[in-house]
Subunit: 318 residues, 4 copies
């Protein structure tokens, strides 16, 4: 543990690239699958991700017992061994459980935590006040990511609200931008830091599961934080952008878009993702814990067709 603490670099505002939101692998019988977890970590790092995010919605976090969450996070952090920063979802209905989870994962070697507002806050002042309490809860030493995801939280954070939160939160180093449509908001937050009104934080996007990545990079995003069974798409798009080859970035993106769109369907999206990851040999089982969706034969046929077409198109543009 001591060694880990020495080598783990905490999250900071310079983060770029792809922070992949991982799934949580289970065996067919529904137990945590730690061997698949290790394989998944290696796969992600091999594909070039620059960070990982665990215990998000797509990680079935709420279906794990407290002990399972601890075991899973520990396994991830041990396997990663400081090679990339790992962010842990810490949204909780109360501050005592938020602090408990945060203390636990930071001790294990997490680089920071991610917090979304609860659906009970609505007005601008309520949202700002909530994050004041988050700051009080997390303390001065835990870097954190502000998650803006109205589809799941029901909370609309306007640009002025986000700027107020950033001003009040010296340890908030990143915005996970998932509002949709969110391009205008992204532009205005970047403009505010360029005008010096607020310090510049990292902005990673997850808008529709990466379905607007090229446009978001153009607007000033530093990369993506979302999930997709082909993380190499996001890595390659970000790299092409970093190399100033915007057309190439779009061409890569477009090749993956038909399947990405299919995987981003609300409800069955996670089942599609785990199915593909299992097909790719990354995880042993596509099992999802109840309550959760199952793919039909027709769904699987759709995925097979889209995968074949994607492979063909990737060869054409290579």
């Amino acid at each position: 543990m001591l060694i880990l603490e020495l080598i783990v670099k905490k999250l900071d505002a310079s983060a770029t690239g792809v922070y992949l939101i991982t799934v949580t692998p289970f065996t067919d019988s529904g137990a945590l699958d730690l061997a698949s977890t290790d394989r998944m970590i290696d796969f992600c790092l091999d594909k070039g991700v620059t960070g990982l995010t665990v215990l998000g919605i797509m990680g079935e976090a709420t279906k794990l017992t407290a002990e399972e969450s601890r075991v899973f996070v520990k396994q991830v952090l041990t396997r990663v061994a400081g090679r990339v920063p790992v962010v842990v979802g810490a949204s909780a209905p109360g501050f005592a459980p938020m602090r408990e989870l945060t203390d636990s994962v930071m001790t294990l070697g997490a680089a920071g935590v991610m917090v979304a507002p609860p659906s009970s806050v609505r007005t601008d002042d309520q949202i700002v006040a909530y994050f004041d309490m988050v700051n009080e809860t997390l303390g001065k030493d835990v870097p954190w990511v502000l998650q803006d995801h109205p589809v799941s939280t029901g909370v609309q954070m306007s640009t002025p609200v986000i700027l107020r939160i950033l001003k009040n939160s010296p340890t908030c180093v990143m915005l996970k931008h998932e509002d949709c449509p969110g391009l205008a908001k992204l532009s205005s937050i970047r403009a505010a830091s360029e005008r010096g009104e607020v310090r510049r934080v990292s902005i990673l996007t997850g808008n529709g599961g990466g379905l607007f990545l090229p446009e978001e990079l153009t607007r000033g995003a530093d990369g993506a934080m979302t999930g997709f069974a082909y993380p190499e798409m996001m890595v390659d798009v970000c790299r092409a952008f970093a190399a100033d080859d915007i057309e190439k970035a779009h061409t890569i993106f477009d090749a993956y878009l038909p399947l990405a769109r299919y995987e981003q369907q609300t409800g069955i999206g996670l089942a599609v993702r785990k199915h593909i990851l299992a097909e790719r040999g990354v995880i042993a089982s596509a099992a999802i814990r109840k309550p959760g969706p199952k793919l039909s034969a027709a769904d699987i046929a759709d995925i097979a067709r889209l995968t074949v077409r994607q492979t063909r198109r990737l060869a054409e543009i290579a």
Copy 2:
């Protein structure tokens, strides 16, 4: 028409007392019942209401055709004949229909219109911008009431937002306060006008259908704008308050509370109200247009018991 325009006093910020939200009477076969409409107007004025509000949610406004709305408003205005101001609900999904309805009812002699925000606006800035457009739509000559009713709109307007709207809206003369719990908001809006931060407007309350009237008057409300089959309750509570007899106000209120609570049940409340109004001989039929609730024999037995008890308690405190 000319004559009406001469005698109709427009709504202003000095409004006090009870602006009753009326039902829309139908015959058993579902047609507009204009004779009952006249009788209802007379009943309300006889009980001492100081204003009327028509075409609200409890007036089944959305179930009327455009022509029926016009006929009903005209009948009300003709019968009232300028004796009290009549406010007309003008919330609409678009500004063209809002203007059309407003022009029409103001020409007929309405004292002002009432507007609630659409459920699509969420952030503070969106809400304020919406009412800027309302001001643009209504123009300089139409006094209007800001309706704050989160239960039906889903829109949470914080005190700072309401103050911003009042500052931007010279023709907004009244707040219909229906947020719940809303006592703290009521206190803070009154405090702002006392500190001179914003001009004083009339505040009439509808919180839970008048279920917090005594406390709201204590906090600075000027009266009530809501519906109840016994408008005399609200009138008498307001009068006792105006006479500085707060204990008497509570005692009157408490006598009606068991039935008021029963009438305020979401869903069947309107059926309860129309049933009682029909029992009292005010309207000919308790009919509600579809889709709408129907009372069961057990509901009617509940109302009968509560009414007997209310009559007895009123006699005790007389």
Copy 3:
């Protein structure tokens, strides 16, 4: 532990009377207050409650750490010592944490658990399927309470759906009825068991915090499961009903109604309840964990006035 298991009677369908939903007492600094917990248990039993429910929404369950929840439940069960059944809220976003919590509290001596549907289920079939999984999770030995509370869950369970759940769930022994307006639903569920279509379960009501208790008892409810700083109101109303003195039941109810109404305000209701319980000497501090409301001086003055009036009215009807 062994001894407790021997004496604890599990919850069954014959439950009647008042199952009070308790608060969770904290010290002024926000720590669990176990001395106040003991005092609160004694107070409740002294007032005549026939059961207790802990870790509900009004118990600030989501603001406790897992360890705090365990400590609190253990304290309650130890103090109760089998004198009345204790039900524990076990709603959880996943089945693994639901099972973990259930196993833990049943071992400690709980009489059963209570489960509400998650907001993600919507159609009739989805709701029924969800509770099939609940049955699978809880197993054959844990009696459970079906909580129907649309205001907090957003899930509308129609009468046919509730009947389907009861048919599929041999261990569901109670319905916590909190739909509002819910009198018609209550009547139709009772009618179904009287026609022999479904077995009879206990129905305890919480509609608006007991604000419809007399009417609900008339429709066939067996009692109440809700919270109020004056549990004796609900106990005395239930006893008058059991003695067939319906008018007396109403008269008692009406005396408490003005304060009960005030305590049931969404948002600040829990603060009102804890304030009164502290005033009555039941708990040492009215503290609520963040995020939570605070009472103003004006709120406290309202409560003081209502309390004085209630005491006077209770003396009049004694």
Copy 4:
């Protein structure tokens, strides 16, 4: 008028192809633009659409006055002159206005109306009962389309509910399928008619604005009813499918997908669509009535890039 009535074929269950949901063209000053309306009709028919749908959400229906709606529908029907069926959105909060609008547009020559459930209905039985009242309102002679669009209505209609509605509704001839994820539902509705459990109706899809069209056609959809600034995409995809060339259908679809995805962004989607239609010379102005979004220079640059890339890709696959 007599002539129109003779030649207008009413909507029936054999409908296939693309029923385009049209925009409502305005001038820069916000007035109805009837010349652009005529041009838009000609453009759509020229591109091969088999039907039109007007006064939907994307047609800014709620922002029109009653008179403007009538004028616009009349203009469309006159220009179409019976060449394709025109469906008119008739969802309304009450049945009197629904009947009024329906009578009016059927007299003018509409082929049928479209109805979505109001957000107030929730349980299976409530939804079914609502459409029983729709049938009663529309009568025996008006063919209607059942619109299943949970994103805008909040109403989840399960497959059993849709089958119950179809059984109760002899004049419901089409399902506008917009649930997302909806492929499983589409498959199960088709399976039910194949098993003879329910009569076969036309199913046109609008899932995400056509973003799943190829997969939906594979599952048994008869075509699309949605909007897109390139209606030829949907027409060509449907034609390739009808010719059994599924790969070609996908290839066409994929070429348009990057821009289609951009146009389907919630909130600014309509502004994107009108911008492109104006660029294509179809409508004179991209104006949207307030409240509505405006495109930024960055948005317009995005669209320009995507359009260039689309043109290039279409040339490659031609």
